[in-house]
Symmetry: C2
Subunit: 260 residues, 2 copies
């Protein structure tokens, strides 16, 4: 097929996760795909990269495979860097990351390996989308999401994305028919109220598990949390220019350069 | 002393790094300090948190120590969560992270453990600053930075910070007298051109080191890169609302909800 788009597929739950297998199936309907994904789960690794350790890249696919597939010992961001620099012969037309097992809405975007992989692709100038399903179960039902994922990916391929913008797509845990539609949203103001679950090793040493409760502090009706609660798929355009431009004027009133 | 501010100190180079020891010395002149920092170097860990592994918190200080000090087995972000939830009796008045050994200007902010710790404090509602010196050397000269760090910290304590804003401070590798001043800037548009240094293990297996070259694509004179190049300290206000608000209108013109 002529002019088939080249699509890079990655995730943070690891190359064997059902989420990425579903995403691969959808993307195969759209273009030529190449998979480079972590060889083990890498949830909540954020935008970590591996600079103080060695990295391994293993080819999984063989000559009979329908597409190229590599596993990588590094983080999701490492995977994208490997794909662009060592695996792909040209810049892909699209990078999709996920489908994450669990939400990456609101503040979760910042901790998310899934989204960081997509953001890294965005930094490299590749239109990129992170997909997440609001179901942490390894055996979650990803089927209901397929139609919507295909639609969003096709729209991005058709329209491109504004420079420096990546899409963060979250899908409610609902049957296909129950999903009300797709909404463009802003990131809700929310946070995690952490709790450390303190335990003792068999040798009597204290150790902890990080756990916590999600708190949505945002009553806005234009947020991703609101859309998801109402049964919509949320699409948040995300940027990697972290500058709080609105704060520059205030800071310029400070006496930072006065002699004292 | 009455009304002494409570200051949390952390970093990503690990609790023994000369950078954090300098920062501790400066903060001791300002307030009551508590240190919670990683027990080993955690550079480029981004906003990673530890959810699939156990965490250890070790008290380093004793009854004779001038301040409370803990090392933590987790990431810089884990350290802040530990400090807030397990160590500190009240919310601190300020969190400072660093001094990082090396630049966190422009796109480096997104990979930086130093800045992610500061951002995490910001999410928790604590005024926060990340400090970085443009010198990767373990034995870098941090002395020249002291006066400026103190000034910026005092300004933040006096004025507070706009909601959801954290400061990313980068300091050029110059003698105190050569530093021209402090400039409020925006994050320069820049990226890393990666290169994977491919080698063979003694057993003949391929492995890689991630390396690369920094490319500043931004000719603006209001950027952190420009200020640093001209001998100024750069201060970029950073936010954790990643929404690309300017892109929402464009995305709303897409045909995402049309039946086909």
């Amino acid at each position: 097929m002529k002019n088939k788009p080249l699509i890079l597929v990655t995730n943070d739950d690891g190359i064997t996760a059902p989420g990425i297998r579903t995403l691969i199936a959808v993307m195969q309907e759209i273009g030529e795909i190449v998979v480079v994904a972590p060889d083990k789960p890498q949830s909540a690794t954020g935008h970590a990269i591996t600079i103080n350790n060695t990295l391994y890249l293993n080819k999984i696919s063989d000559d009979n495979s329908p597409f190229l597939e590599y596993s990588c010992s590094g983080t999701p961001v490492d995977c994208v860097k490997f794909a662009v620099n060592e695996v792909l012969k040209r810049k892909p037309d699209l990078c999709v990351s996920g489908i994450n097992h669990g939400s990456n809405s609101s503040i979760n975007v910042i901790y998310s390996g899934t989204m960081s992989a997509a953001v890294e692709a965005g930094i490299e100038g590749i239109p990129a989308i992170g997909f997440s399903l609001l179901d942490y179960d390894w055996n979650a039902d990803f089927e209901s999401a397929k139609k919507f994922i295909k639609k969003i990916a096709l729209e991005v391929l058709e329209n491109g994305l504004p420079e420096g913008v990546i899409l963060n797509v979250n899908i409610p845990k609902l049957k296909e028919k129950e999903i009300k539609g797709i909404k463009i949203c802003r990131q809700a103001k929310a946070m995690w109220m952490e709790r450390f679950d303190k335990r003792k090793t068999p040798q009597g040493k204290d150790y902890y598990w990080l756990t916590g409760e999600f708190v949505n502090q945002d009553k806005g009706e234009d947020t991703d949390e609101f859309a998801l609660e109402k049964g919509f798929i949320s699409v948040v355009p995300v940027q990697f220019d972290l500058t709080a431009h609105h704060a520059i004027q205030t800071l310029n009133t400070w006496k930072l350069n006065e002699k004292n």
